[in-house]
């Protein structure tokens, strides 16, 4: 074939191809019918909630078959007014869904909004949207959102809370009439010893309540322990030094220590400068406390609160000056540093139990025992649950009353 002829043949093929693509497009431009509406729209109040939520579900439009006639669904809500035609209601679009392509499967939608007023009837309309327009299905009857008192999917939690509370109440009562054994914690018993050492050496006691603010539970626990230390330093007539890194902690600690000195009968020994602010900056604070240690050589250092990377810097400096050091924190990352550099370390629970332990107050001790018993029950339940689930996993058929999944409604997050 000659080159001129070949070019002509190629152009002819291209023309034919372009013509073929134009013809259907021209056909689509014709006006199309709206898709068939969704079917069987139902609504119910979302169970076990505080209200303000309606759960909807509907069957996909028969045209929702992937052909493109249904592009999505719109959910509309209106306050129901008896005697008013649905079309005249004030509809608000409250949600949308993409097309389903799932045949006769149902779609669900949760309408959760504080705009939904509890106990007020609402009507819902779901529209199937498509290139040919929209067709809607109307909820046959109005629906109201209601608040429930109990989340029945979480009855097990209620039971656990009741059991734990009853246990704590029981042990608090029991503590009033009988002695309750508390496991000896060397670190707590060493508080007096550390303050005694400072007294004999004629050096001050240093107390660091962590570097975080009063919104941290560990800081609260630390300041509570400071109360006890303050009482002891008042009784031993030993200077107390409390550098803090947060202004709120300073204000709170001052009140606590002042009260302790008052209780010990030595308000004359208290002055506000014992508890003083350094800086909010983490390492600025660490450097300043190190400086205090090296200058004043405290004989006892207490680190009780929330700590981060400064923990080892403080504890190592304290160790180098020969102080007895007692740390207490629930930060797992800092525990290894404290354990190796300090004389005693209160770990997690011990730290939180410290104030009850030190004060030997009967109600606080009873509460600790109650909580411990609760934890023991949970631990046993956990081990038992893991065991039963494992049995099920390997195909052992358990009797119905031992069906752990149903019992605790695992699927619903209970």
């Amino acid at each position: 074939m000659k080159p001129g002829n070949a070019r002509r043949a190629a152009l002819a093929v291209l023309f034919c191809l372009s013509l073929a693509s134009v013809i259907p497009a021209a056909a689509q431009d014709l006006p199309a019918a709206p898709p068939a509406p969704p079917l069987d729209l139902t609504a119910e109040d979302t169970p076990n909630d505080r209200g303000h939520a309606i759960a909807l579900s509907w069957v996909l439009s028969p045209d929702d078959d992937g052909s493109g006639r249904v592009t999505g669904y719109s959910v509309w809500r209106a306050v129901y007014r008896p005697g008013v035609a649905p079309a005249d209601l004030d509809w608000t679009r409250v949600g949308s869904h993409s097309a389903g392509y799932l045949g006769d499967e149902r779609l669900t939608h949760s309408d959760v909004s504080d705009d939904i007023v509890n106990n007020l009837p609402y009507l819902y309309r779901v529209e199937a949207d498509g290139p040919g327009g929209a067709s809607a299905v109307l909820l046959p009857a109005s629906i109201m959102a209601r608040a429930q008192w109990f989340n029945r999917a979480r009855w097990n939690m209620l039971l656990a809370v009741l059991v734990l509370s009853a246990g704590i109440m029981y042990w608090i009562q029991k503590a009033q009439t009988s002695d309750i054994y508390l496991r000896p914690v060397a670190g707590l018993k060493a508080f007096d010893e550390a303050i005694g050492r400072a007294t004999e050496m004629g050096n001050p006691v240093l107390f660091v309540p962590g570097i975080m603010d009063m919104d941290q539970i560990e800081t609260l626990a630390g300041v509570s322990i400071l109360g006890y230390v303050g009482k002891m330093t008042a009784r031993y007539e030993t200077p107390l030094e409390v550098p803090v890194s947060r202004s709120l902690v300073m204000a709170h600690a001052r009140e606590v220590v002042k009260e302790s000195y008052l209780q010990a009968g030595r308000p004359d020994l208290y002055n506000d400068d014992m508890i003083h602010y350094l800086t909010d900056d983490q390492f600025g604070y660490a450097a300043a406390v190190d400086g205090i240690m090296l200058r004043q050589k405290p004989a006892a250092c207490f680190y009780q609160g929330k700590f981060y990377a400064e923990s080892l810097i403080l504890a190592e400096t304290g160790n180098s000056i020969g102080a007895i050091q007692i740390a207490g924190t629930a930060s797992p990352a800092q525990l290894p540093f404290f354990i190796t550099a300090c004389d005693y370390t209160l770990i997690g629970e011990e730290f939180f139990a410290a104030s009850a332990y030190l004060s030997q107050e009967k109600r606080a001790i009873g509460s600790i025992r109650g909580q411990d018993v609760g934890k023991l029950i949970f631990m046993v339940a956990l081990i038992l649950g893991v065991f039963l689930v494992s049995l099920e996993a390997v195909g052992v058929r358990l009797p119905g009353w031992l069906d752990i999944t149903a019992l605790f409604d695992v699927s619903s997050g209970g």
Binding site: E193, M201, G202, E237
Partner: protein, 611 residues
Amino acid sequence: MSEEKRDHSQARTILATDCGSTTTKAILIQLIDGEYRQTHRGEAPTTVEAPFEDVTRGVLNAVREVEELADRQILDEDQIIRPAAGDKGVDIYISTSSAGGGLQMMVAGVVKSMTGESAERAALGAGAIVMDVLASNDGRLPHEKISRIRQLRPDMILLSGGIDGGTISHVVELAEILHAANPRPRLGLGYQLPVIYAGNRDARQTIWETLSNTTDLTVVDNIRPVLERENLTPSRDKIHDLFMEHVMAQAPGYKKLMSWTDAPIMPTPGAVGAIIQTVASHYGITVVGVDIGGATTDIFSVFEDTFNRTVSANLGMSYSVCNVLAEATLPNVLRWVPLAMDEAELMNRIGNKMIRPTTIPQALEELQIEQAIAREALRLSFIQHKQFAVGLKGVQKERTISDAFDQSASGATLVDMMALDLLVGSGGVLSHAPRRHQAARMLIDAFLPEGITRLAVDSIFMMPQLGVLSMVNEKAATEVFEKDCLIHLGTCIAPVGPAKKGRKVLDAKLILPDGTVVERELTQGEMFLVPATYEQPVKAVLKPAKGLDLGGGKGHEIETELYGGVVGLIFDGRGRQPFVLPEEPAERVAKLRAWSEATEEYVASPQPAAS
């Protein structure tokens, strides 16, 4: 004290006396065939009180008895002949004294559990009775402390507090309290009260200015120069010196007695402590010694080369018997009585003893009750001792990450029953028990020795004299202690750990001196006795059951030599940690009787009664 200095290590004849509150005891020690032996003893009433008011009269009477028994002239009229010349006189004369109530002290320290405790240890170790411990943190107000000092009127006060370079204000405050109290000594009203200052050296000047006008102040080295170390010797030595100079010098006749002796007169408990320490260091062993008296019980121990002494002031067998009952409680006393007896009857019998404290049991039942009380008195005293014999507090610890869940506290007791080698008992109820087996059982039941422990009793309570002798001639003191002072009862073998009733706890293979091999099995709740002598030890292979420990570790076999004695080898399978007696009365009585029978506690025997 004699001014003439002689070489006491070459002494051949030694005379020692102990002037007690009621009796003065004298013993004669002689070098026989190259070894020192106690050969004769004599005693006479103490003559401190009117009409004699001269302690030397009683001493001379006791020595005269020794003289007659030994057929050796020791006295030349009212003088002890020294040095010995031929068969006359003695080379050394020494004495101890507890007459007049012994040495009563108050101690003071800044922190009660630190320098306060160190001061108490120094005073008790020197043989004193510590009447009270004053401390800055004892919770008493200054006027209460002042009133207490005035009320107690001690013989001496030991003031300590602060490490060297440590607190000054606290210790000066204590001195000011002493100054304000202006205490008067119990004896010798014309004298100032001896006060020893053994605290922070930086405070010496201020202490001197505060106390030197109102007291007889002596300054010695700090008892706790650093918190990590105790330095008790200077204080103890000074207590001894002041005891001689002030307390003894005020007692009738003591000046003359002091001029006779070759070594300072020591308080009796201090001398007992000295011999216990000497024996522990000489043989490299751990020792617990107990002296149970009518009003008090003293316990001495040497663990980890540390000597400790405690006085349980209200635990004794006669004047304090009701206090034992109050502290131990009736059920605890009753649990040792191998008779079906109700609590009311037991209380009445103990009440009778309280009314007539010096009576001794005439019937077996009375003896059994008395020994039940003794067990509880000893047990309670030992608990107090364990609480006092502790490591130093306030000491910095070194940790590793392995300590995360095992952070041991400081101030743990030094008393380790598994490590205990020798348990020595003395005092009437132990030394004068009708059968030595009873003394052994009382010691075992009260102290609950663990593993392998030798038991002994002091035959005639000559430990005080040997204690002061150990200061001038250690060889003589240790030889006599081993051969004549101690009556070796035997060895207690007790596996430690929980075991079920009737389960095997120990396999014992014993190779007796004549070559006979005895294999025995000890079961839980069982006791048995194997006769053996002290002179010919028994080779033994002992294998505790799984989970039980005899000193070599749980379930580990031990090959050792067991020393017997007048009782023998006592295998005790009743359990340690826990040791539990049956709760049900009939079962308990049956068990007690079975154990008594197994250990020959109350059976009739040709063995002569103890002297």
